[in-house]
């Protein structure tokens, strides 16, 4: 789920950036530092949408770096247990498949793939129904439901299932070709 929230961060800025563009530098550095990171609490920071306030800078003793408390608005993405997501399959193997929904990696174990789908190894490993109508391979888009999430300080890993109604392949680029 996406959230638009305000976060705060202490930015350390090198004195060489001091000058007329200090604020720009600060924002640029903030974006570089924060976007794409992940915290267990808030999830992935997808984008910074604005800077609310930049506090007074404090010179750090000994280094000359200045720390600015910056409040910024950002869009975060945090997966939840039970959430239904659409994701793109990135890898298929006999234990299941990995899919990505934006920055989140989701693993769907073969126990959580409908029983009628079987793993086919080969050049393009895939899961296929017995009649061959539905095929999950790399780059297939699937809708899945998260059944478990593991939130580390730096990583979010989810386990999903497609073994429920209305879950599974939603668009298969491989099939269209």
């Amino acid at each position: 789920m996406f959230f638009h929230i305000v976060l705060e961060r202490n930015m350390l800025l090198h004195p060489r950036h001091f000058g007329p563009h200090l604020r720009d530098k600060l924002v640029a550095k903030l974006m570089k530092d924060v976007e794409g990171t992940c915290s267990g609490r808030h999830g992935f920071v997808v984008a910074i949408t604005g800077v609310e306030s930049v506090g007074k800078g404090m010179i750090r003793d000994g280094t000359g770096f200045v720390s600015f408390p910056v409040k910024y608005q950002c869009v975060v993405f945090r997966p939840f247990k039970g959430e239904v997501l659409e994701a793109v399959v990135t890898m298929v193997n006999k234990m299941g498949f990995f899919a990505e929904a934006g920055p989140v990696q989701i693993f769907v174990s073969n126990h959580l793939i409908p029983d009628d789908m079987e793993f086919q190894s080969g050049d393009i490993p895939n899961y296929t129904t017995s009649d061959g109508a539905i095929k999950i391979q790399k780059d297939t888009e699937v809708r899945l439901k998260l059944i478990g999430t593991r939130l580390d300080a730096t990583e979010i890993f989810c386990i999903g299932t497609i073994k429920e109604d209305y879950l599974g392949v939603i668009n298969d680029p491989g099939a269209a070709v």
């Binding site: 247990k81 193997n93 234990m95 693993f107 959580l112 059944i147 478990g148 593991r150 386990i159």
Partner: protein, 1033 residues
Amino acid sequence: MFKRLKLPPDEGTIPNILPGEVLDKKPIPVEEAEALADMDRRGREMAEIEAFLKDTVELVDVSQLKNPNYYRDLMYLFFPVSTALAKIDFIVDNGAEIQDEEERRRMHRRPLLPREDDQEDYEALERRIQARYAKSSHTDYDEEATDVEQQALLPSVKDPKLWMVKCAIGHEREVAVCLMQKCIDIGPELQIRSVIALDHLKNYIYIEADKEAHVKEACKGLRNIYNQKVLLVPIKEMTDVLSVESKATDLSREAWVRMKLGSYKGDLAKVVDVDNVRQRVTVKLIPRIDLQAVANKLEGREVVKKKAFNPPARLMKIEEAREMHIRVERRRDPSTGDYYESFGGMMFKDGFLYKTVSLKSISSKNIKPSFDELENFRNPDDGDGDIASMSTLFANRKKGHFMKGDAVIVIKGDLKNLMGWVEKVDEENVHIRPKMKDLPKTIAVNEKDICKYFKPGDHVKVVSGAQEGATGMVVKVEGHVLIIISDTTKEDIRVFADNVVESSEVTSGITKIGDYELHDLVLLENMSFGVIIRVESEAFHVLKGVPQRPDVALIKLREIKSKIQRRNNAQDRSRNTVSVKDVVKILEGPSKGKQGPVEHIYRGILFIIDRHHLEHAGYICVKAQSCILIGGSHANGDRNGNSLASRFTPLRAAPDFLQSPRRPPRGGPPIHSGGRHRGGRGQDSIVGTTIKIRMGPFKGYRGRVKDVTGESVRVELESQMKVVTGKSLSLSLSLSLSITFNRNQISDNLVISTPCRETPRYGLGSETPMHPSRTPLHPFMTPMRDPGATPIHDGMRTPMRDRAWNPYAPMSPARDNWEDGNPATWGTSPLHQPGTPPARPYEAPTPGSGWANTPGGNYSEAGTPRESSPTYANAHSPYLPETPGQPMTPSSAAYLPGTPGGQPMTPGGGGLDLMSPAIDGDGEGLWFMAGILVDVRKSGKKPVIGVVREIFPDGSCMVSLDPNGDGDMITALPNEMEMVVPKKSDKIKIMSGDQRGSTGKLIGIDGTDGIVKVEDTLDVKILDMAILAKLAQ
């Protein structure tokens, strides 16, 4: 619980008599009255002994004494009382067991109880006995109260003593019976009180008596007793004589045990039947039978005893036995009525072996069957997913198994399937808060009736069992079994719900046993090596250093010889130096296309981690020569020599030894120890290395390089204590298994340079001109480095890094420079990937470099561009396009014969091995051989089966396209061919190992192993299927 006793039908009509019931309702013969009176006194003592024994007392019919089956228990006591009322006490462990033995119940028993003269005494006695039996038959009697009582019942000085008497071995019981008979015959003159024969004590019996003289008297005339020596048992030890060890009796049917001896040692077995008398149990095992051996034996053929060959455990397929012409009989077990197949004295049912073994040869304590073992024991026929005998598993639960807050589910009783949470744990009862609303707040259930409950998605930690310590997420719950996706390996783990707890922690489980840790490179027995990819409680999973296929072995701690810590280097396909942490891409073999950082290097084999590779903890084992370095080296800058070397690998195409002339003369005799790997890193000079002289008068001599001047080398000969000077060209490195990369490289160069003289096109001649251009750099940079460090390489490379390379950072892989955000990194790094066309644009700016005309040309041209490049400042430009050229090099085979490093790429059969002394012998590939069937897959054509007719040195084969070998002849490249996997009873050829080339017959397939009967020796071998190829008919 009272024991129900029966009177013999001939002695009365009272069918059931409870202990303590008045027995003298039955008429007692007058002549026995006196004896009875005498008994009163004894009776009291007897009751005391009984109490002391604590165990249930049973009375037996004298007529049954001859029946050996009658003495089913550990010991019996013989009370010498008056004639008709002889008695044997059976001491059993608990009342429950007696209940089981309905058969025994039916025997005639008569209680002998102390009789008192008046009614009150009887009543008192009844109460006393009732109290006692009621107490002991209850499982949860009050422990403390009994302790006190028990104390009081211990023997004191006033009590009769216990004497130990020696008797003939094996006749203990007989002696006891004889003494009883004697007592019956003689009567009260025999002044001993009881006789005890213990099953576990051979050679001795115990006699209870007041005086030693009484014992001697009683023993007189008995032939099996040697009564010269009568030992007194100290009072303190008297109780030990009669205390019953619990171990023998807690073995019940359906229990899991482990075998202690024989070929089944350590195997799990399930108890089918227990025979306490004969001390034997019948167990159900997964057979380990070599049918071939059995067949040979039955046919009377000579069987060569092979030691330490233990056939793998697998379920017996009777049809297979029949196929081997083993006579299989079908029998019915008279007692159970089940049918068994039997041959060679073994009984089988449903594929399991039923074996009767001695109680002593199994261990029944603390058996924790692993999941896999239990899985194997699941009857293949009954498909129900319930893992049998949960009760034994529960019995192994630790204390404090359940904790407050655990989600549990009731699995037995009325409340079955009720879910709840643990609120409180008493000793055996667990109070749970049920999930259902209408139920009372807490319910107390027995610990054995509940088990833990998890939902898919829970994050758990395994707390016991083989996977102990692992964490992961539950993906599926199958009854009592959870399937967990491990956090670290992303593999499925199957565990019992009992063995896990909910946890948010992330670990990979135990990562260390002894000195060996997860991901260590270890040397195993028989000189193989591998990387530890998983650590279990007792063993490691080791991915062996066999590049053809992933080979994972389960290795016990003691099988590991040592950890390999040395940092080796290797050469990739383009002879770039690969060191640890460099990113390489695999160009051929089963893992083609994968890439990742090198974690370990040993004997020219790389272990690479590909994070997208899920098996084997991401490790891929591959030959260095099958890889190509991508980008620069990841090695840290502080690892000076090596890291630089690898960072600028393309520059190194010039053989090292050519640089030796540029060695600074002022350095005098080099201080550095060169090839002796200081700090684990081999340095660049050949000084100090052991070499072998290839030609001239000292041909064949080994020695150590002392000094290098120009092309001459001074060598200290090992055998002659003499220093000689020779041309470096005539030296080669002696082969040594532990050769380091640098030596390796040097050896390459030496070898290469030899042919150079004949073929000036090669390296030496053409590269010489570049020396002048480099030499000036030398003084410029050398001072910057530690003079002790090898000046040769550093001198030549350092400037390049600083002046030419660094600003563009073209060799560093993109990932490293992520932080810099330097777009140049991104732009350039693809160039290093082989075959990437964008390299082209770089050709243009190269001024006057002649190489541009031959971008994809001969590999040996690698050095050529340098010739024409006037300065190092633009040195980078020629190299970039050069890289794409390498893998395409069509003539790559041309340089291989002289290049030890190149060997593995050349699927040309064993012949080339001779030329690659630096690579260990086991690297020999799985190359094709004449006569085998292959599946030829030419691109765009349907796969055809053909027979290999001829193999060319470059690995391609002449194949006749027909399974019978008389079709068209075509030439196929090795990568277009695949060996045809043989089926059972096909003729096969062994493609690898010391039996390579042998033919044989595949007599069975067991998973990935094939059971092969080798044609010449008639040996039966178990070989990996991957090295077996089907032979053309």
